[in-house]
């Protein structure tokens, strides 16, 4: 079996936002509404001479126990056998319950207005109807044995993608060693995006 996961090294992320750009072009996200499938949060931490900038990329954590999937009334949110949480656009009502349930702020609405603007912005648009949207780990690329666009474009190799069912995969080893840890594991969501803290 395959169990996809991502590791993000916060010490290596330089906050260039190339992942956001690559993702938005790959997945045609409504960036004009500040809606991104992945977003790099940037904030200053500390005071006086000890101020540092801290970058935290966030995206859908493709949880093994995803609350967004549980609350979805139509079954539009589902999980593939490889553990990727996807949205069946035509089936999605766009009620927003998934956005309320997600502890990682990974969901956003893609509205009818966004479709109109997207046609001007991206030219030929993949999306045909409005729905709630989220990161898909670039599932269409995974099917062709590729990587998510954000991983491929990351200049500092801060994002790594792998298969947790492969013991020799570097991602698996970082997760198993405890070096990479999930966000808010206490919520019981069993996320599949892991973070290596800044040293």
């Amino acid at each position: 079996m395959t169990h996809y996961a991502m590791v993000i090294d916060l010490a290596t992320c330089v906050g260039c936002n190339a992942c956001m750009a690559a993702c938005s072009l790959e997945n045609q996200t409504p960036v004009w509404a500040d809606h991104w499938r992945t977003k790099v949060h940037d904030r200053e931490v500390g005071d006086g001479h000890g101020i540092t900038r801290r970058f935290i990329p966030r995206l859908c954590n493709h949880c093994d126990n995803p609350p967004c999937m549980t609350v979805c009334p139509s079954g539009a949110t589902y999980k593939t056998k490889e553990g990727v949480v996807l949205v069946e656009v035509e089936r999605c009502l766009g009620c927003g319950a998934c956005a309320m349930a997600c502890p990682y702020d990974a969901r956003y609405p893609a509205t009818s207005d966004d479709i109109d603007k997207g046609k001007e912005y991206y030219g030929k648009l993949q999306r045909k109807s409005p729905s709630m949207d989220k990161c898909s780990f670039c599932y269409h690329r995974l099917l062709k044995e590729g990587e998510p666009a954000c991983v491929q474009t990351c200049v500092g190799y801060a994002r790594m993608f792998g298969d947790l069912d492969q013991p020799n995969d570097p991602v698996t080893q970082m997760v198993r060693s405890g070096k990479a840890r999930p966000l808010m594991a206490h919520l019981g969501t069993r996320p599949n995006v892991y973070y290596i803290p800044e040293r």
């Binding site: 904030r43 609350v71 009334p73 079954g75 539009a76 035509e90 009502l93 766009g94 319950a97 808010m184």
Partner: protein, 318 residues
């Protein structure tokens, strides 16, 4: 990693509080009026008012949700009975079924009385519809299966009221919502507001057509419900004061707000409780005090949901 950001959400705002308020109250109004009719006294006027006003509330409440859907055509996936079999773990799927079936049961339960009511038959459009042979036939069938329709209304009514709380409880990131007391609080509040609404109806529109013992019973039940709501609210206060930063910030938001303190706790619970006690056990008589108290309870029911939606704090590590 440490939590750095505490924020509220912008997806479900005041309009959603309207949905929770009208959905819960409308469903409880149907359940209470049916229970009264089936097991206490055959009050035809009360049943008609309960069924029709309850349906009207749910139509408006569900309409608020429907208008905010991004893809309205996909509603068919959840209003069809298949929806709940496809997604039995989703409370919205269950709630949608409850709301559909309670409205059908409510209209059918009231129909045999509606077709006999001269005043309704005299209304321009509704009167003509009620005189149609097919409607009369349906009313005849509904009369034969009245107990079944009544129980469908009661079960789905209670189910809808509970669902409004279970829905919020499904969101694990928010301490204020993700705890077992929320469905209990929302159910108690739904039935309290339902009692208040039916008291207003009985003291104004159908004062001479309903037995006084029903009014007296409702006043006593509402006293108990408001007391229970106060206990749950103060246990919530205690719960959010420690345990998680998100919960504590919710407590700060709520108890630091004059709207919550005065609009809900004081004038939505304590004042109507005192007024109803004075009416039930004291010397107050007449319509004005109890109708005023009931209006305050209705306002409190909405304030509760609006503030609960606004005070749900998400905690993010960025």
């Amino acid at each position: 990693m440490d939590i750095l950001t505490f924020t509220t959400q912008q997806h479900w705002t005041t309009w959603f509080a309207v949905y929770l308020f009208l959905g819960g109250m409308g469903a409880a109004v149907v359940a209470v009026s049916f229970l009264t009719h089936m097991y206490l006294r055959e009050e035809k006027e009360l049943v008609m008012w309960g069924a029709l006003s309850g349906v009207a509330m749910m139509v408006v409440g569900s309409g608020m949700l429907f208008l905010h859907l991004l893809n309205k055509w996909a509603i068919f996936y959840i209003v069809s009975p298949y929806g709940v079999f496809h997604k039995p773990d989703s409370w919205i799927a269950w709630g949608s079924q409850f709301i559909v079936w309670i409205q059908i049961a409510a209209v059918l339960y009231a129909l045999p009385y509606m077709v006999e009511k001269p005043r309704l038959l005299g209304w321009p459009v509704i009167g003509n519809i009620l005189k149609m042979p097919i409607v009369l036939q349906v009313a005849g069938v509904a009369k034969k299966i009245h107990p079944l329709l009544g129980w469908v209304g009661i079960v789905t009514g209670i189910g809808t009221a509970v669902y409004t709380g279970l829905l919020l409880q499904s969101f694990p990131a928010v301490t204020l919502w993700h705890n077992p007391a929320v469905p209990i609080l929302f159910t108690v509040s739904a039935f309290s507001t339902a009692m208040a609404w039916l008291l207003i109806v009985m003291y104004t529109f159908i004062y001479h057509r309903v037995d006084h013992t029903i009014r007296a019973l409702y006043e006593r039940i509402d006293l108990g419900l408001i007391t229970a709501e106060l206990i749950i609210i103060f246990s919530f206060f205690n719960f959010t004061l420690s345990g998680s930063e998100g919960g504590y910030r919710s407590a700060e938001m709520l108890w630091g707000s004059n709207g919550w303190l005065f609009g809900f706790v004081l004038f939505g619970l304590i004042v109507p409780l005192a007024m109803e006690m004075k009416c039930v056990f004291g010397s107050w008589s007449g319509k004005v005090p109890i109708v005023t108290a009931s209006l305050l309870v209705l306002n409190g029911g909405f304030q509760l949901r609006a503030y609960f939606m606004a005070a749900g704090i998400y905690a993010y590590p960025w």
